[in-house]
Assembly symmetry: C2
Homo-oligomer: 320 residues x 2
Amino acid sequence: MKQITIGIDIGGTNSVIGVVDKQGIVISHDSVLTANYKTAELFVEECVKVISNLLKTIPEKSELIGIGIGAPNGNYYKGTIEFAPNLKWKGIIEFVNLFKSHFDVPTFLTNDANAAALGELIYGGAKGMKDFIVITLGTGLGSGFVVNGNLVYGHDGFAGELGHTIVFPDTGRQCGCGRKGCLETYCSATGIVRTVIELLEESDEDSELRAYKKEKITSKLIAEAAQRGDVLANSAFDYTAKILGMKLADTVAITSPEAIFLFGGLAQSGDLILKPTKNYMEKYMLPIFKNKVKLLHSSLEGASAAILGASALVWSEVKI
Amino acid sequence: MKQITIGIDIGGTNSVIGVVDKQGIVISHDSVLTANYKTAELFVEECVKVISNLLKTIPEKSELIGIGIGAPNGNYYKGTIEFAPNLKWKGIIEFVNLFKSHFDVPTFLTNDANAAALGELIYGGAKGMKDFIVITLGTGLGSGFVVNGNLVYGHDGFAGELGHTIVFPDTGRQCGCGRKGCLETYCSATGIVRTVIELLEESDEDSELRAYKKEKITSKLIAEAAQRGDVLANSAFDYTAKILGMKLADTVAITSPEAIFLFGGLAQSGDLILKPTKNYMEKYMLPIFKNKVKLLHSSLEGASAAILGASALVWSEVKI
């Protein structure tokens, strides 16, 4: 009998749902507009309808072995989403319980960066690795740490918040968490936009990005300008890479991974971010770790990456 | 039959060796002057003699189940001591193999901070905890991370170098590792001495520490002065605690421990270091971790702490 899983990635605007087999093939998928549902209960009811339809499309004699959910501020131990700033639903939501009342299969939940790390472990470039880190460079900076072959959840299920380690204490950029100077305010898709806006304001450097209103500048536009040789855009990549490289060197000193994978929006600028980050990481690396740690592009980029990550949570939990 | 272990802590000047039972009782112990032995082979021969004598003192019908060694730059996977700056023996030393030719029992080696963490887990305040960190504040700053109940060795066996994460990149204090601004140049017994010397040079503040030649100032003298209300000495503790507290908050965001234990020379200044560090740690903590993580004194202080840590490595490895 063919075994399948459901992977659900909850985003602030849109959520994606897919049926995934052990080889990482997304057999069928659909989406639900998260922002349209006032309560988590209504959202889950819609997800249940979508899943029921998706399950009609799968081959006969398939067995659904579990549901995996990746969500912002997802807590693995409790199956909850807690105080997620990008979701309408406030407070602590018993998300796994909402699903369990509809499906009689094991259901697991973790945050999106942890799901990305499990996706890399089960289907991607980290297959066979025991110690690695996935860094997601999206709106924020997320991270999933795998140590001794297991995801690090920590005592309370919220481990892996590398994006909220502090680069410039007291004086740095305001972060959404309420503090100042967090890594994600510099090294993320929104962080590099803030850097470009600062550079545009503080320098006279000519740049094609001056043609845009500030609120229209995106990390994609910055990457395209940098590719065309725009000096200011390249300076922004260099600054981002320097801070990220330094923090990755610090992180290597703590968990000594075999590899670090870059994933998500800003990572899609490819070697523009990866190469200088690698150079700075090596520059700031403790000598015993120099030239030992691979810095790699995630092998799960693309539309189905988030679904794969969420579904990987099931394969990593259910012994089959 | 009573089961016993041998714990060996290798120090730059002096090494201590003890026979330890499962309850953490040091049945007998002795020491060897490390610095007197030109080669690791000669040192190990002396250790073997000492161990043989110690084993004569133990109760009859005892069974030696293993030897645990804590050593600077010790590599758990390879059983080696690699390029330890404080030891005379240069390069990579196959330390476990040297012992194995003398004793037919499992022999394990790790660095001293990892040994301290295992000591805390097996005999100390971390009994029953699955996620915690031990910070050793001695000549340098060492750290041992326990995640999911297991020590984090990382891909190459050198994980846990929190002392070499960077506080002030490029501009900070020169570190023995060759880089600048490492945490241990600020937060360690020698780090606080450097802070006091800077404060003495840069300020006109009256201080009883002005009575000493610079090279005679120790963290113990600073602690005593601070206890007596010396303002400059207290400023040095505050500065040390601020940097340590910030870095511990960063570290919590990564591995989300239940507790952090402070161990070693500077930690013996007790609440002088612990209380302000706790305050700064909470100040800089990501909101979801605030007031969740215990900052505690190690329960293994004292002469036998290093022996206990090394012996704990055996109990954590050998299933009995």
